[in-house]
Symmetry: none
Subunit: 210 residues, 4 copies
DNA sequence: TATGAATGAGGGTTCATTCAT
DNA sequence: TATGAATGAACCCTCATTCAT
């Protein structure tokens, strides 16, 4: 379970990886500082030398997750591939991102009420920096969604995709993806690549012009 | 916020409705007995006259949710409509179920790690009755998924749907649906019916034979 | 009341002493983590840094008590003194143990239903380690009783004591002793030594051969 | 477990019997109103039609216990039997009282700190009647002890018993007796009569003049 | 009488967080 | 950096008790 031998010092990166794992495994509220610390052979108190508080730590996880997935998606989105090919690549990148990197999953379902509990949010007031970073994270996640909208829109305009309600279609797409993070098991029948292929097939077929 | 005037006695039904709301709003771990009680103008202690403990209460919510949605879906699934029509009706029923009944949402995303934390599960041992009911709930949820698989399978066999990886397709479908429970806002651009229609269009198109 | 100044850190030993006192004063069910904590100028929460839970803490008290008294009794029991002298010494050690060390009293009357309530016992299931330690404690207490049986038996066999129903005699003896822990007051007419002497006289007379 | 069929009304007597049982089984703090009520197929709330509160109910048990045993002991104490015969009869009555009547056991060990918790006592202030009855009970129990002292004293004065420290001897005697209430099991090797005989032998031998 | 509903008080326990070492 | 000790706040749950029916 523990990722680090007892006699090595850890750095922020180690903690973030461990935290992402625990977060995906247990969910926000069930993830305790002690859990995260144990994963890197530290005490909970020690985590506070690396992160101001629990919110800051978990926010860092989310940031890492969203940046990772954006770093995969953005290059595709700005490429000159035709929209259908772009979309296939983006779907593939997103789904495999979710199956391979626990932080991505955390970042994606952060929107879920379970994670952004009403009770957690007000803490923003106490820590303006965290509040600001949270806003920035939300903005990045919106940006992520916009990239998908853009490629669909482009496809429609170019006549490659049948006209659809773009926002709803993207929500549909992303919901299907995010759910992968929930049910995917590394020892399942299909690996991330295979799942991604099938899902891309589905959504591209759904966009086929009549 | 409070659903009941202070001078009326409440019944289990009232509590379940309130609990479903709070549950959807806050998630399992963040949902407090006090929160639920406040919603019906009670003390947390009073809830224990109606439910043995928190697990039992929230399980009752999940049960209500799954039974509600199954009562909508099952009649369609066993009807003699052709698979494509069946599927459209089922999608519609599921999505509107999610937008109209908070308990359905809770029941659907129960599987999500955030909600059924690893730590919560082992508590089963302490309350065998709850453990049994939890198993039964899981079984019902599996049944729910099976209904979707069956209709897709039927459509493929009858040549009405193009051949797809049925399990993955259904996960895709359900993931998209469940996500609706997360982002749907009653004051949004579209109501549940409209969202359901668009999603049905998408998935039926994705199943169109070549 | 408080045994420690507010500005010193406490260790397990301090807590055990305080807990033994409170336990003897209030009994198991009435003994509160808060009570024990107050005795050492701590918060109840702080106790959980030293002991896993209430059961573990109080069990540690019982263990300390039984080990203390066994450490006094066993050397006598295995010595080569004649049985009558042994018995006198053992009675003396036991009674003064009860008047001088509150943990001994707790350990002795643990069997009393008030202390090991039917309701408390089943909790064993939840904490296997505590369950095991509880078993070990019971075994030690049985061992304690056996030492008394052995010396009586030896005396009878050697013709130094009149034949008696050994198990009943020992229960009689131990009951009389344990009751001392209940009525003894440090400011009473007699101190522990004096009480012990009188009780030893009584029981040795009761064993005199005809 | 329940002593009354569900369709019969209960009276104070029934409740007292049930309460004595539960009390002996669980101890004071662990005995809940609900437990007692269940034993007579009532709700906890219903008990309040028969007894002002928990203290009053349990005090009634103690009163019943002490009166019962005094009704057995007093006639013997005031009889004209010689002290040794008196003492044998009293011991016999006390021990069998303890093995046959759960209320007696409760009344006897009431003194034990576990039962008269420091926290319970102060409640006296709230209910002057209960406070008064508690004092009366204590007085009766002292009276009980005095009867034993008197017979010993009488025996010593008449030269039938060797001189002993009477208070200590009586505490020894009563402690041995009370302990019977703790370890006695109806299915044990000996019944109450046999145990009583052996204990009487022991203490009479201990009083034999040199 | 009897009870279902309700509650205030309190108890055990967890957890994020602080601080001295 | 790292940690052991400590704590306040909060949570789940129990219980004696009250009251309307």
């Amino acid at each position: 379970m523990a990722r680090k031998p007892a006699d090595q010092s850890v750095n922020k990166e180690d903690i973030l990886l461990a935290a992402a794992d625990v977060l995906q495994r247990n969910g926000y509220e069930s993830t305790t500082m002690k859990d995260i610390a144990a994963e890197v052979n530290l005490t909970a108190a020690s985590l506070y030398h690396h992160f101001r508080n629990k919110d800051a730590l978990l926010l860092a996880v989310l940031e890492a997750g969203i940046e990772h997935i954006l770093s995969q998606i953005e290059p595709i989105a700005v490429s000159s591939y035709p929209p259908d090919h772009k979309l296939r690549l983006m779907i593939h990148a997103h789904v495999t991102g979710l199956t391979n990197n626990t932080a991505v999953g955390a970042a994606m379902v952060f929107e879920i009420k379970s994670l952004v509990s009403v009770k957690t949010a007000p803490d923003d007031g106490r820590d303006p920096e965290v509040a600001e970073r949270r806003r920035a994270f939300i903005a990045r996640r919106d940006q992520f969604e916009r990239l998908f909208r853009a490629v669909i829109q482009e496809g429609i305009e170019r006549g490659l995709f049948c006209p659809v309600d773009v926002p709803i279609f993207v929500k549909t797409l992303l919901g299907a993806h995010n759910w992968v993070g929930v049910w995917y098991r590394p020892d399942g029948r299909l690996n991330g690549d295979e799942i991604a292929d099938r899902m891309a097939d589905t959504f591209l077929r759904a966009l086929q012009p009549a």
